[in-house]
């Protein structure tokens, strides 16, 4: 890669300072656990159900029996330690601009949230190599998480579909899966995999990280030869004349991606401004909580 291909972009955090930066930003986030869709014994009442033989007699709601003369049992939301898996696409395309920094920072923030909530955490990162973190828990987990995330600067040819394929093949256990990628690949296989994973009981969320220049092609670039090194595509164009079509195409791609993910019951969050990661993430978490 020729040096002139690489734009000079400000790093979102200094090397070795990821934990501090993530912690600083997490302080502004909503701190709380993740609701699970599983039902069990919990302090939070969920519903009544008619008693059937075999139910635990301790779960019978005698007061309800007194009112309705029917045996019903109380059901509660089950609150338990939810495994969280963060999948980071650190492929070549993610090395463009601050995308990888943003992805790592978001992963660290979400990881800290999970660890703080007592969840089990596992990180799968496809960068220069395909790496999987050990199960992370507690305070030590946070430090290990950040070291893990900082070890790889990305650069492999991979995409979100590869990550989901790995997850499908290696992790049949249900979990909260947060996939961080730019999602510039094909939508159809990704959506298909997402449907499979949600069908397997995974709670899947997709965080799409894009550089601002990817959302709106800068006309000031003028005559440019664009190298898409991940696909090997080279496109010579005049940014001033190609801008309209590009902007429309990328917008349509994002819209299509969001629609496909929603159809697969997958949350989608688009992050394109590195300076407002916290706000965007906070809003997304609130939205997820109130869903």
């Amino acid at each position: 890669v020729k040096a002139r291909f690489l734009p000079v972009v400000p790093r979102l955090f200094s090397r070795g300072q990821l934990l501090l930066e993530a912690r600083r930003q997490v302080d502004g986030l909503y701190a709380g656990g993740h609701r699970t869709r599983s039902h069990g014994s919990s302090l939070e009442f969920a519903e009544h159900r008619l008693y059937v033989p075999g139910d635990d007699p301790r779960s019978i709601d005698w007061r309800a029996y007194a009112r309705s003369d029917r045996l019903v049992v109380r059901r509660y939301h089950e609150e338990r330690r939810l495994p969280v898996r963060i999948l980071i696409d650190a492929s070549i395309s993610m090395t463009y601009g601050s995308k990888l920094d943003a992805a790592v920072l978001v992963a660290a923030m979400l990881g800290l949230l999970a660890l703080d909530a007592g969840d089990d955490l596992e990180v799968l990162m496809h960068g220069l190599t395909e790496r999987r973190s050990p199960p992370l828990q507690g305070t030590t987990g946070a430090e290990r998480l950040c070291r893990f995330l900082e070890e790889d600067e990305g650069g492999r040819r991979a995409d979100a579909t590869t990550l989901l394929t790995r997850l499908r093949d290696q992790s049949p256990r249900r979990s909260l899966v947060i996939l961080i990628s730019d999602f510039v690949g094909e939508i159809a296989p990704l959506a298909e995999l997402a449907r499979v994973l949600t069908g397997m009981g995974h709670d899947l969320a997709a965080i799409q990280v894009l550089d601002p220049s990817e959302l709106a092609l800068p006309a000031a670039w003028g005559e440019t030869l664009l190298h898409d090194r991940e696909s090997g595509l080279q496109v010579a164009c005049d940014a001033r004349t190609a801008k309209a079509a590009y902007d429309a195409n990328i917008s349509a791609h994002i819209t299509g991606l969001r629609a496909a993910l929603l159809a697969a019951n997958v949350d989608h969050l688009l992050l394109s401004d590195p300076q407002s990661l916290t706000q965007a993430l906070s809003a997304w978490l609130v939205r997820r909580r109130t869903r």
């Binding site: 030869l225 190298h227 090194r229 496109v235």
Partner: protein
């Protein structure tokens, strides 16, 4: 050929534009970028990109050309004029003949011509030039063409048009010499301009097609072409004015125009003046004459003047003409002989006696004095006993201009003189003398044509002729075209005549010495010579005024019409202006000078091939270095506008 007014500005311009040019040439129109979502650019990208790159290259080309054009414009390019190298010399010949004095409105042709020369010298800018004034004598602004115009300005400041025909051929020859000298011995090269009025004689004696190939001829006609009525000549009839004999001065008035004119002309001879109204047909001549009978010998002033003339009369200098008529007491006869007039055995003595007895007053001069005959001498020339023929150019001119020569063949020198008058052919070619004294009878003379004016007095006196015999004889067969009045019995010419030019050459092949013939012993010789004035007197003189610009032979300085003394040069004084020239006493008229008749025709002549006329303005434009920098400037601006339009369109599309 392109030259540069400020070639040094090129380096400055390069320095100034170098950063821009380097920027333009090193500018990367296409930057390489890493961009992961290139596939969303869509299908249009390739075509648009090619179009855009083509446009970019077009913009680059326009920018580069604009800068180049502006840089060249700053250097001041000019298109050099006609000559190949752009620096060859130019010689301007200024026609200073009298016709240049013609007036057209408020200015004269001469003033316009001087202005044209001055302007032309400026337009020729940095080229070396020389101006040659083709007046009565060529006069150049310097020996060599000069780069500064000081000499040219000085010449033009002091130059005046002459009153003669000018000296264009000599001036052109001088110019060619100059152009040849400037080209380092190679063939003459450069521009030769003739600034003239285009009158009928402006190119007389000049053949532009005979010039060296590297010499570019330009005929610059300045004004001219006016109508003119002129006193062309003052004729005299008969050709010699004698005391007691009527003589007539005839003023020849010429209408050099296509329109009929009426003119009032005053003609005067001595104290007799006449005023005449003449009707002049187009391009025709009319005469006005005055006659008087001189009562004493001396000089008479002849004068003709156009008092009034209807219509355009562009040249005033030829409206008046002065001449001098010399009145002789008797017809002058100059006898040239190397013999002693008192020698009894010489032919001169009986000849002089016969001339005197015929009523003539001969003057005697040695044979060598023949070479000193003056032009305009109307005397009868008699030669006899010439020992060695002298230079005869003057005698030839005398004959051709209407003079009369009686050549008496007595000596071998006399016979040789018949072969010595250049191209002129004698009435006969006498051979070597044959001694006939041993014969019982000499060679008899026989009449051939007694109606000849010279021998008509012998009609009825044929016995006298028959008594004449020759004892010493020179066979002399007559030449073609000769008229034989008397002949010897062997057919040789005894008395013959031949017309030569306007004059007469009489040849008397009868030696009057007693040892050679009986001519002197009888009264035949006085009878013959008594008729000589009738034969030898020219019937008329076409013009008793000399042409301006000519030299008049004189033994002393004269005073010109303006009262200035004219010094003698080579035994003559140059008649530089029209009018009467007088002796130093201020009274005696010496000669009258007038405008040459050819100068009166001011109408434009048909110029010879290779001498197409151009106006002064055309000459200026042709000589001028055509500035090209405005075109380069305009091109640069247009290119910039085009570049801006193209660039703005591109931005607009974006």
């Amino acid at each position: 050929m392109i030259g540069w007014l400020a070639a040094g500005a090129g380096a400055l311009c390069v320095l100034a534009t170098a950063p821009v040019a380097v920027h333009l040439l090193s500018h990367h129109f296409r930057r390489d970028r890493f961009f992961p979502t290139a596939r969303f650019l869509g299908e249009h990208r390739a075509g648009r990109s090619r179009l855009s790159r083509l446009r970019q290259f077009l913009v680059l080309a326009l920018r580069t050309l604009a800068l180049l054009a502006l840089a060249i414009a700053v250097c001041g390019p000019v298109l050099r004029s006609s000559t190949s190298d752009g620096w060859s010399p130019a010689v301007i010949v200024l026609d200073a003949s009298c016709s240049m004095r013609q007036r057209d409105g408020a200015t004269t042709c001469w003033e316009e011509a001087k202005g044209a020369v001055e302007r032309l010298s400026r337009e020729l800018s940095s080229r070396p030039i020389q101006v040659v004034l083709a007046g009565d004598h060529p006069h150049a602004s310097g020996n060599l063409p000069e780069l500064d115009r000081g000499g040219v300005r000085a010449l033009l400041a002091s130059a005046e048009a002459g009153y003669g025909t000018g000296s264009v051929p000599q001036a052109v020859a001088s110019a060619l010499g100059t152009l040849g000298a400037r080209s380092d011995g190679a063939e003459a090269g450069g521009d030769l301009y003739l600034v003239t009025d285009g009158a009928a004689t402006c190119m007389a004696g000049v053949d532009p097609q005979a010039l060296p190939g590297a010499v570019h001829w330009h005929t610059v006609v300045v004004g001219g072409g006016g109508d003119n009525v002129a006193v062309a000549a003052l004729g005299l009839e008969p050709g010699v004015a004698l005391v007691g004999r009527p003589c007539t001065v005839t003023a020849r008035i010429v209408n050099h125009s296509d329109q009929p004119r009426t003119a009032t002309v005053e003609v005067a001879l001595g104290g007799t003046t006449r005023l005449l109204d003449l009707a002049l047909l187009p391009e025709a001549t009319a005469t006005a004459a005055v006659t008087m009978t001189p009562q004493s010998s001396g000089q008479l002033d002849a004068h003709a003047r156009i008092v009034s003339c209807g219509g355009v009369n562009a040249l005033a200098e030829d409206d008046e003409r002065f001449g001098v008529v010399t009145v002789d007491a008797a017809l002058p006869v100059h006898v040239f002989s190397d013999e002693n007039p008192s020698d009894q055995g010489a032919a001169l003595k009986p000849l002089l006696a016969a001339l005197v007895s015929a009523g003539l007053t001969p003057t005697l001069a040695p044979g060598a004095a023949l070479s000193q005959l003056t032009d305009g001498d109307r005397a009868i020339i008699v030669t006899v006993g010439i020992l060695a023929p002298p230079r005869t150019e003057a005698l030839q001119r005398h004959l051709l201009s209407g003079g009369c020569l009686l050549q008496v063949i007595s000596s071998d020198g006399d016979a040789a003189l018949c072969h010595g008058l250049g191209e002129l052919v004698a009435p006969a070619q006498p051979g070597a003398a044959i001694d006939l004294s041993a014969r019982a009878h000499g060679l008899s003379l026989m009449a051939r044509a007694l109606d000849h004016p010279l021998v008509i007095s012998l009609r009825g006196r044929e016995p006298l002729l028959s008594q004449i015999e020759a004892y010493r004889h020179r066979p002399a067969p007559p030449a073609d075209g000769s008229l034989v009045a008397l002949a010897w019995e062997d057919g040789s010419v005894a008395l013959g005549e031949r017309a030569v030019g306007r004059g007469r050459w009489l040849l008397l092949n009868i030696d009057p010495t007693s040892a050679s013939s009986d001519l002197a012993t009888l009264e035949v010789l006085p009878l013959l010579l008594g008729r000589l004035p009738l034969i030898g007197m020219p019937p008329s003189i076409s013009d008793c005024a000399s042409a301006c610009g000519a030299s008049h032979a004189s033994s002393q300085a004269v005073i010109d019409p303006s009262g200035s003394r004219v010094a003698l040069i080579d035994g003559g004084c140059v008649l530089s202006r029209p009018g009467l020239y007088r002796a130093l006493d201020g009274v005696t008229s010496v000669v009258g000078a007038g405008i040459p008749e050819s100068e009166g025709d001011l109408r434009h002549a048909v110029l010879p091939a290779g001498a197409q006329a151009v106006t002064s303005q055309q000459a200026w434009v042709g000589a001028r270095d055509q500035p090209l920098w405005p075109w380069f400037l305009l091109a640069g601006l247009l290119l910039l506008i085009g570049e801006l339009a193209l660039a703005s369109r591109r931005v607009g599309q974006a």
